[in-house]
């Protein structure tokens, strides 16, 4: 195999990885939409986007290894090194249409292996899991509001996930099969809350607003739980993002990625989950229609999984993993990575894919390029202690 850096770091990617320069001038589009998809449980990045051409890949992965492009159950080719999991056919089509960028060997600053702490770091946008007073996306909203841009956000969930918690009020919406309360009761409860418990009143009012927009987007679908199909949530997200008065930012949680045992290869447990994710992204594109052109979707997870298969045909908690950036207006069709490779000496603590791109650089890039959040604000207010994590340049624009 060629020297990995010569192979992967094309001149374009070198530009991408260069220190950030001109953010303040980036003209943010007022029509921009953003969908953050959080895969809870740690998606196996080496299964979602496999370095099929690396010799160590097949040895280390054993029964989980995916075949070369063109073979039965083989990966869907991205370039000479990487291929997508065969379940990700829609994402592959997006890649070919330059509407998908794969970011590999990415990680938050967190270096331990607890799901729960890792998710806190991912969502709070701080260096340690101890800081959980609010999420980076809420702080970004506060900055935008301060600049006169009053767009809102919605969590496709019963409650607000940490990434969206904070000073700015955020909507929640999840599919419901309950019979609506009658108008008179609702009015009385609102009055009661406004008099006795203002925090409850504002939450109830937000929920009523959200429901007015979502309508019956997912009527009859089940809500709640950690492992629900993505599609009903995506349908609702599209309704919100298309609405002229609606939020411009949506967060979707999808659980069930913790594949310690019998993970499967081209078929099996993880393959089924990936198929659901793939269908969800395609549904989002379809449902958004022309708005897809203004939309950026970022799919992230708390960390990757071990490079080697474990003793039970699964993978254990690891470090670096993969992220997907999709959307109508992005500069896609690329794998963005400072790929460390799978050689033993390159593994983190002798077992994990080594992190080479800080996920905060990706978050910053989206906020700067799509929403015009100034670099100074990104560093000061949104991601404290992130001076060494400059935005990736020209990721989406």
């Amino acid at each position: 195999m060629m020297d990995r850096r010569a192979l992967l770091l094309t001149s374009l990617q070198l530009t991408l990885l260069a220190p950030f320069a001109r953010l303040a001038n980036a003209a943010a589009d007022k029509n921009s939409r953003f969908v953050l998809v959080i895969l809870r449980g740690a998606l196996d990045g080496l299964a979602a986007c496999a370095p099929y051409a690396e010799s160590q890949y097949h040895n280390l992965r054993g029964p989980l290894a995916l075949g070369a492009p063109g073979t039965e159950g083989g990966v869907l080719k991205l370039d000479g090194t990487f291929g997508l999991h065969p379940s990700l056919t829609n994402l592959h089509a997006l890649y070919q249409a330059r509407e998908l960028t794969v970011l590999h060997a990415v990680a938050t600053p967190y270096r331990e292996r607890s799901h729960f702490d890792a998710q806190k770091v991912l969502e709070a946008g701080k260096l340690t899991p101890a800081a959980t007073d609010g999420g980076w996306l809420n702080r970004a909203l506060a900055v935008m509001h301060g600049a006169g841009d009053t767009r809102g956000a919605v969590a496709l969930n019963d409650t607000v996930p940490l990434v969206l918690r904070g000073d700015v009020a955020v909507n929640t919406w999840a599919p419901s099969r309950l019979q609506n309360a009658d108008e008179d009761l609702l009015a009385r409860v609102r009055r009661l809350y406004e008099a006795v418990d203002p925090p409850l009143a504002s939450k109830l009012n937000e929920a009523l607003d959200a429901r007015a927009i979502a309508g019956d987007a997912a009527n009859g679908q089940m809500g709640g739980g950690s492992q629900q199909p993505v599609t009903p949530l995506v349908n609702a997200a599209a309704r919100f993002l298309k609405s002229p008065e609606g939020p411009r930012i949506a967060v979707i949680d999808v659980g069930g990625w913790d594949t310690h045992a019998n993970q499967g290869g081209a078929q099996g447990n993880l393959a089924t989950r990936l198929k659901g994710l793939d269908a969800g992204i395609q549904t989002l594109k379809t449902e958004l229609g022309p708005v897809w052109a203004d939309t950026t979707v970022l799919v992230v997870t708390e960390f990757g999984r071990t490079v080697a298969v474990n003793g039970t045909r699964g993978t254990d908690h690891g470090t670096a993993g993969v992220a997907f950036l999709a959307g109508g207006g992005i500069k896609g069709g690329r794998v963005v990575s400072d790929w460390p490779g799978l050689a033993a000496r390159e593994l983190y603590e002798n077992r994990d894919l080594k992190p080479t791109i800080d996920l905060r650089r990706v978050f910053k890039s989206v906020l700067a390029e799509r929403f015009g959040v100034a670099e100074s604000a990104l560093e000061r207010a949104v991601f404290p202690d992130s001076a060494n994590a400059a935005p990736l340049e020209h990721l989406t624009a």
């Binding site: 019963d158 419901s176 009385r188 950690s226 003793g311 908690h317």
Partner: protein
């Protein structure tokens, strides 16, 4: 109305007041809680229905699952029009209608019903006990520890035994020593299956060697070891390393289940069975020496000599009385029963009492009851969806004829019974539950309850029986001025003083 302390005892330490509880609590709320911590009090709250043992359920589940998988395979080949699978009998072909000959529809249906019936029976038992209990503080402790040692029914293998796991591994030990509780939880098939330990084996074990001869590489799965350290004992900042996780995983290899349950990967056939030795008691904890990693291990700086199953017992015994464990458990108890941000001084006090008593739990509960911090804020916590529902039925003082009718709402509200979805269990802070959509659903559900039973209840009288004296006069006025009995009841259930505790 309930005095402030009576309301805290009934609501924050319990599952909500029944109309008659005010009299039982009287003017000694602390004594009322304390009295629940005795064996005699617990004997007064027996199970409401006879529950089967999890071992038998697991065995039946395994057999039904095998039959269903076979049937599903036949169905799949029909759907593909390939007819690879038996039987060979001719058919009209094409897209397979559900009743195609050869597909064992009965097996598929039986499996589905078995899973559903067991799940519902166990959820109902849990809810009935909670609604009827005269020792609601103990029920809360059962729920608390069951959630601390969480397993989740969204993993198919443990779906039919989540409630039985709580009955067998948690409930008997909540007033005992933490070490006993810890051992019971980690040994239970529910935990073993949930955190993948039944298939974890030492890379140098006899079982791995057998597999290697057949061209398969099998070995460790570190899931259980990591979650014991992170979630069940020391806590994530408890000072362990990746090396400790790996070594502890080796220690735990062989902790498994008797009979052929969950051991995919082990060789089959009679010859292999002879090599594998004693299969153990089907469906119960069983240590399989052949899967155990041989040799000495070092966990948290201490060396453990090769001693089979007792290595794991030794590590657990040490973890149980580790200061980090004491602090972790004290924090969680104080968060559950006092405040989302538990007072640091209280946590330290509880932790030191825990250590002084070698992990005995009742002294810690007594310290919690005795703590001034517990009685300061009347409405410091926001109810989880489950406790919101249970407290509603306690206020109404009746168990629904078909308690499974509660499951759809709990699912909507984000807390489908026995499915926290992760080994961390359900969160217990307001931020995790007080989203607007979830609140709106509570109001809608309150409306539905009001429509259903409101004309048979006097909501104003109920309010005075279950709300604290601190309840806002506008809350009471709202209930009084409602346009119907149903609306009045809905307003009581939706009231801020009923959502918080």
């Amino acid at each position: 109305m309930l005095s402030l302390e009576a309301a805290i005892a009934a609501n924050r330490f319990g599952l909500g007041a029944r109309p008659q509880d005010g009299a039982a609590i009287g003017n000694d709320p602390r004594g009322w809680l304390d009295a629940q911590l005795t064996a005699a009090a617990r004997a007064a709250s027996p199970p409401t229905t006879q529950q089967p043992a999890s071992a038998g359920v697991l065995l039946k589940f395994r057999d039904l699952r095998v039959a269903r998988q076979a049937a599903a395979q036949v169905r799949a080949s029909f759907a593909q029009g390939q007819r690879k699978a038996p039987p060979a009998s001719a058919n009209d072909g094409g897209n397979a209608p559900p009743a195609s000959p050869g597909i064992d529809e009965q097996a598929i249906k039986e499996f589905r019903e078995f899973v559903r019936e067991n799940y519902i029976a166990q959820v109902n038992e849990r809810h009935r006990r909670a609604i009827e209990s005269d020792t609601p503080f103990v029920e809360r402790l059962v729920h608390f520890w069951s959630n601390h040692f969480a397993i989740s029914a969204d993993k198919q293998l443990v779906g039919p035994i989540c409630g039985l796991y709580e009955q067998e591994a948690i409930r008997p030990h909540v007033l005992g020593n933490f070490h006993t509780l810890l051992l019971a939880a980690e040994r239970h098939p529910g935990m073993n299956l949930y955190l993948d330990n039944t298939t974890s084996m030492g890379a140098s074990s006899g079982a791995a060697e057998l597999a290697r001869r057949r061209g398969r590489t099998l070995g460790l799965n570190e899931n259980l070891a990591r979650e014991i350290l992170e979630l069940h004992t020391l806590g994530v900042d408890g000072g362990y390393t990746q090396h400790d996780v790996t070594e502890f995983a080796k220690v735990l290899t062989g902790w498994s289940i008797g009979g052929q349950i969950g051991q995919r990967g082990l060789p089959g056939g009679q010859r292999a069975a002879a090599l594998l030795g004693d299969p153990g008691k089907p469906g119960e904890f069983f240590f399989r020496p052949i899967m155990h990693e041989p040799g000495d291990k070092t966990v948290l700086g201490q060396k453990y000599k090769e001693r089979g199953v007792s290595e794991g017992e030794q590590v657990l015994a040490r973890l149980a009385v580790h200061p980090a464990t004491a602090h972790h458990l004290a924090t969680k108890l104080a968060r559950q029963f006092v405040a989302d941000e538990p007072p640091a001084a209280l946590v330290d006090r509880l932790a030191s009492i825990y250590l002084k008593n070698d992990g005995e739990l009742v002294p810690v509960y007594r310290a919690l009851i005795a703590a001034d911090e517990s009685w300061k804020e009347p409405l410091a916590k926001y109810k989880t969806p489950q406790d919101f529902v249970l407290s509603t039925f306690r206020a109404l003082n009746f168990v629904p004829e078909r308690p499974e009718t509660l499951i759809p709402f709990l699912t909507e509200a984000g807390q489908r019974p026995f499915t926290p979805g992760s080994p961390a269990g359900w969160p217990d802070t307001a931020a995790a539950w007080d989203g607007g959509d979830a609140l709106l659903k509570r109001v809608e559900w309150a409306g539905a309850v009001g429509r259903r039973v409101g004309d048979r209840r006097n909501a104003l009288e109920l309010a005075s029986a279950v709300l604290p004296t601190s309840a806002d006069e506008r809350t009471i006025a709202g209930i009084r001025n409602a346009e119907s009995g149903g609306q009045a009841l809905a307003l009581l259930i939706a009231a801020p003083e009923f959502q918080r505790r």
